[in-house]
């Protein structure tokens, strides 16, 4: 099938359509507007539901309602809008209904700017909403990967009755790449034993997240945790480059990861034995694999477009077994591969000690320049 | 002579709010201070003759605790509770 040149946001929207999304509810925000705009003509033309909500809280609660019918439903937004969805997301998790969320991250905190950033990693992965729940989070690094993950996201959401988040930054949303779109899936509405649709010919279904009886709520919490543990077991995803003989390993997700690929190639060209590990599922996080890599690598370089949020997960896996170096750019700055190459070279010159605090040293370097 | 009526108050639901007592046109209802419902309320009951089965008590009862009977059935249930 021929490749087509697509803008990231529109490709994601079309991929969702082909994955059988039945309803989209959203609110405009840069840099994800093209998702909403694309849906605004594409879904009605297919007789599916599109609503530009009055706000993100409204959008997520429309999603909540639609999700309760068992339909494949999604919303998309960017950082500030995602913050406004946190209550709704917690309700959806607590009610154990499936949905797909796309966060096209921008520079923050606050209004920040519309440039690409990875500053929402903690919010998205560590639970921005209240209570104990864990969304599955997939972080593609290219438009093709995003498109390929779209149907996967819906399947995960339904399989674990959970939120599945596609986490990208503004650059993936705004850039264009040649891609192959998946085929069009038919819309299938199963009669789930939990979904609401009118109680015709069956006993009624009630979906709620309130459990005043405390022991019951504890059981629900454990049930949610149980599904999450299954996701932890089944949904680990990552991609590895040039690791076979790598003595040094760069780790980055999403855009930082793909930029690192260029850096790794450049370093290899200089004869440096360096490879790249790019987590795709950032929640659940591939701790085990990172742990294994510590046996092979002399030291790690973690690159992010934030102050080192994923770094904490890396450190949890590394446990000071080998030195870790960190390099991050903030507030929407997109690093150049050259910066990473420089960091690789510096790391090799002086890998530092395993007990060093990488974020600490990075901060001092940033302030020094 | 007024139609003969009767009501039954379901102890499961009655909370002794007295709305029926005050609403009852012939004033034949009162709370049974002797009796306690499982939930610990004094339920309403007919304490004297004269119930017309007008179902006013049932209309005002917030807990649908009242079943109404009437010797000569006239209107369908819905009508009695203000159906259109």
């Amino acid at each position: 099938m021929a490749r087509e040149l697509w803008k990231g946001n529109e490709a994601i929207a079309e991929a969702a359509v082909r994955a059988g999304v039945e309803a989209y509810f959203g609110y405009p925000i840069t840099p994800q507007n093209e998702v909403l705009e694309y849906m605004s003509h594409r879904l009605p033309e297919l007789g599916r539901a599109f609503v530009q909500a009055e706000s993100e809280p409204a959008a997520i609660n429309m999603v909540y309602g639609a999700a309760c019918t068992g339909a494949r439903v999604m919303t998309s937004s960017s950082s500030p809008g995602i913050s406004l969805m946190q209550e709704g997301l917690s309700y959806i998790a607590g009610t154990e209904v499936p949905m797909v969320l796309v966060n096209v991250m921008r520079g923050g905190p606050g209004l920040g700017n519309i440039a690409p950033s990875q500053g929402d990693y903690n919010q998205i992965c560590k639970g921005g909403g209240h209570g104990d729940y864990h969304p599955v989070v997939l972080a593609p690094a290219s438009i093709q990967e995003a498109v390929d993950l779209m149907p996967v996201a819906f399947e995960i959401a339904h399989k674990y009755l959970n939120i599945c988040t596609i986490l990208i930054d503004g650059s993936i949303g705004q850039m264009m790449e040649p891609i192959q779109l998946p085929g069009m899936q038919p819309v299938v509405r199963k009669e789930y034993d939990w979904a609401v649709s009118g109680a015709k010919g069956r006993k009624r279904h009630v979906l709620t997240s309130i459990y005043l009886d405390v022991p019951t709520e504890e059981k629900i919490n454990l049930r949610i945790l149980g599904r999450w543990r299954k996701a932890q077991a089944n949904e680990i995803r990552f991609k590895e480059y040039y690791l076979e003989d790598a003595e040094y390993i760069v780790i980055g997700f999403g855009t930082a990861g793909r930029i690192a690929l260029s850096a790794v190639r450049a370093a290899r060209a200089q004869g440096i034995k360096v490879g790249l590990f790019r987590p795709i599922s950032v929640n659940p996080f591939p701790y085990k694999r990172v742990e294994q890599l510590c046996k092979q690598a002399k030291s790690l370089l973690v690159v992010e477009m934030n102050t080192g949020q994923m770094l904490k997960d890396i450190q949890a896996a590394v446990r000071n077994m080998i030195p870790v170096r960190f390099y991050g750019r903030l507030g929407g700055v997109m690093p150049f591969p050259d910066e990473f190459v420089h960091e690789i070279q510096e790391m090799i010159k002086d890998p530092g000690k395993p007990e060093d605090d990488p974020a600490d040293l990075w901060y001092l370097r940033m302030m020094a320049r | 002579m007024p139609a003969k009526g009767w009501i039954e108050v379901n102890d499961m639901f009655c909370k002794g709010c007295e709305l029926c007592v005050t609403a009852c046109p012939p004033k034949v209802l009162e709370l049974d201070s002797e009796k306690l419902t499982p939930k610990g309320y004094h339920p309403a009951y007919i304490f004297k003759d004269g119930c017309t089965g007008c179902a006013i008590c049932a209309i005002v009862c917030p807990d649908s605790a009242i079943t109404v009977y009437r010797e000569v059935t006239k209107a369908p249930a819905s009508a009695a509770v203000g159906g259109d």
Partner: protein, 170 residues
């Protein structure tokens, strides 16, 4: 921006990997817009390049902003219709070309960027003019199809002019 997309389509059609990314930064409304195109044979890493091998600048602010970023030995195409100064660097190959006028000559002012594209490819043959031509054929929206010949003309004129007036890197 449009020139960038044409390049992207052409690269894709000959089976290469390509990324097109618009510039970010404060310029919201009516500022200078620009984009970066990366063409490669393997999976592309960074869509941004610190020192691109080839650069087109259509106006003065862009020249000021990007002249120094061109990779030594790389190519810089300057639209002299909007830029009244020469290129200061002598370690790059560059040409100063009146895109607007040449475009007008070819039949439409708005093809200035196509002219520049022709010039770039003349000096940096990552793609052939034919690649561009067929890309235009394949991807130009129907209602513009009639402009195709003019575009091809503009492309050629740009390339010719560039070959004639190029200043080679020292």
């Amino acid at each position: 921006m449009f020139a960038g997309q044409v390049l992207s389509y052409a690269a894709m059609d000959i089976g290469k990997e390509v990324t097109w990314i618009p510039s970010y930064g404060p310029e919201m409304r009516g500022g200078t817009a620009n984009c970066t195109v990366v063409i490669a044979d393997e999976e592309i890493g960074s869509p941004l390049v610190l020192n691109p091998p080839g650069v087109i600048v259509m106006n003065l602010p862009s020249l000021d902003k990007y002249e120094l970023t061109v990779k030594p030995g790389g190519v810089l195409v300057v639209n002299s219709s909007m830029v009244d100064r020469d290129v200061a660097r002598n370690d790059i190959t560059w040409v100063s070309i009146p895109c607007n006028e040449i475009a007008e000559e070819a039949g439409d002012r708005r093809m200035a960027n196509i002219v520049a594209t022709g010039a770039l490819l003349a000096l940096l043959p990552v793609l052939t003019l034919e690649d561009i031509e067929s890309a235009l054929k394949a991807h130009m929206p129907g209602r513009h199809k009639h402009l195709l010949p003019k575009n091809v003309e503009a492309l050629k004129l740009g390339a010719e002019y560039a070959r004639k007036h190029v200043r080679k890197a020292k």
